[in-house]
Amino acid sequence: MDPLLDDDQVAYQRGLRKFFDTRWTDDQVRADLEADRPDRDTWRRLASELGVAGLNVPEEYGGSGGAPAEALLVAEEMGRALYGGPYLSTVVLATNAIVLSGDEQAAARLLPDLVSGDKTAALALIENGRDRSSAAAPAATRTGDAWTVSGAARRVIDGADADHLIVEASAPDGPSLFVLDGSGVERVRSEPLDPTRRMASLVLEDAPATLIGRQGQADEIRAALRPLVSLALAAEAVGGASRCVHDTVEYAKVREQFGRPIGSFQAVKHRCSEMQVRLDGARTGVRHAGKVLVDEGEDLALLSSVVKVFATKGYFESAADMVQLHGGIGFTWEHSAHLHFKRAKSLELLGGTHAEHRAAIADVVLAARH
């Protein structure tokens, strides 16, 4: 029971969980990460049966419009199921970026198929993190009314498989978003830290593209996107961590050593309790953020940084505990512990590192009082 959810939200959460319990078992997780191409059928069903791709999309483009708390529940259940389908790329990044751009033409052209699950999209933002690559970031050139983009984008989630590619590129009036027409793009699959989430590099050579929104709007969109991304990652971390706690506790109840279940030893029991405390802190934080997304009663950027750091850090710690408390079996490729361990670390790096979020928090809370 979760006292911070209303009845409709509980029902929606239950529907999502039931879907993943039947459609995305451990076997499917394995099959998908070993498959050449991602499973699209599951995504289409998630979109059509549970409406996961349209929760933040206005009704005129096929969405249900304005259900940000439910969107966090989607991310959470995906985390619990270790689902790595195109939600983060298509919905959290690309769809939200299109909606935030206010570009009605782009919205009308792209959103209905994204909402229905028939099409997917990836968004490649120019990141500010440390990177030793010397490849030039995407830059856009205008010839008459037509744009082309050249340069490289790395670590693009679902970049090899998405139907639409949206890239941030520098342009004469500042960084801007473009949707690529399709030619002039080389997609190279990467080997991601988190094997359940696909990534690719894009090498663009005079790739024809269409501007989304205004020239120079990318910074503004990125800023508005950042809390939504942080919270989606945090919610996914909550789901993943809850699975770590659950699976570890169940194992500690049945695994016997010295003639007793290992969960009866305080060294193990207390570690499980610490996992639960971290989980509760993160879960209640994400729930609170879900409310603030609706009532706008607090500084969302600040709150999302707080919740992102705590939830993803907690997930990683619990995943590490999961490996340790499972002993040798937890170190094997067969066991799902390493999938959590790697996904948790990847959630820490995506959407801004702890150091970046801490700096952002300090800027606000330590600002001079007036």
């Binding site: 509760d280 609170h288 809370v365």
Partner: protein, 405 residues
Amino acid sequence: MNSAAGSVSEAEAFRAKVRAFLDEELPEDWGGVGKLDHEEADAFAKRWRTTLSQRGFLATSWPVEYGGGGLTELEQVVLAEEFARVGVPTGTMNDLFSIVMIGNTLLHWGTEEQKKHFLPRILSGEDVWCQGYSEPGSGSDLASLSTRAVLDGDEWIIDGQKIWTSGGHLANWIFVLVRSNPDAPKHQGISMLLVPMDQEGVEVRPIKNMGGESDFNEVYFTNARCPKENVLGEVDHGWPVAMTLLGFERGESAATLPIMFRDELERLFDLARENGASEDPIMRAKLADAYIANEVMRFLGQDSLARYLAGHAPGPDAAINKLYWSEYHQQISELAIEVLDREGLVAEGRRPTNTIMFQTDDVGAPSSSASWITTFAIARSGTIYAGTSEIQKSIIGEKLLGLPK
């Protein structure tokens, strides 16, 4: 929204009433008890209790027929919140034991005679209570307690020793867990006795805590006596009576702890801005982490409050909250010394007024080195009293996660 706890609209109307009361009773330049020196704070606490009593804001959880405020749970939370915000107490230090603990327990388990006798005397201030649970040999394993009570005609005769008795030196009554039947299994054979302390057989000896304060005590019972009828609940069945305490003040503390700890953190941020620590990149990262930890306490409090107001029995969420805030406070108070830098070597300025069931220094207190140094020491008690962190983790593991004993 309405719940078993009371209607939200009524509680908000009540909030306006509480604010009006505070506006009326407090001076215009009121900045919290922390703005007063120790003498003024003592005098204020006494006056304030009388005011609360006259205006029906003392013992808010008790029914009106026993002189209480008769407030709904939601209203109690609102009152605690508003009081915490302006930095005034809901009673004196010992009222935690008198009103919250034994008063509420009497209401739950007491006979009509007991309620009519004891409750008014608590409100008038005539009876001041303390709690006799822990013993030198029985800390975490409380049920192993060995203080004996034997019935002798119309009286119980009590022999043994209690320890860590907070406020025992200020009390004239003690509620004591005793072994009344040495042959029964350890959780049975325990009784809860109500014992006057103003008698020859009861001796209180102060213990100085690591903060240098003497707010807790040893209490020795040597042929101490109390009337036969001063048993709360049934003879030999005092364990469930003793455990009732755990549920009290749950809603209030879920609402007020985040306010107090936020006030304290703001003081730490002020200090960092004042001495330049806020410009240091490493300290900035640590202070950001402190803010994150503080926010998480607020989130956990909301969850706990929602459970409480939805009428859930006290559960393992209380263990999670207690574990969280007590560990949090140690980290924050350690960080405060680091922020103080060399100033942390010497205690100067105002000290906290009390260290009984210490949480933070008073709202409005100056960011003095004496305040932070005392807090740094006293924060170690939070992970020990009312169930150590280790006990809380076992509760969470066994009750919530279902791990075997």
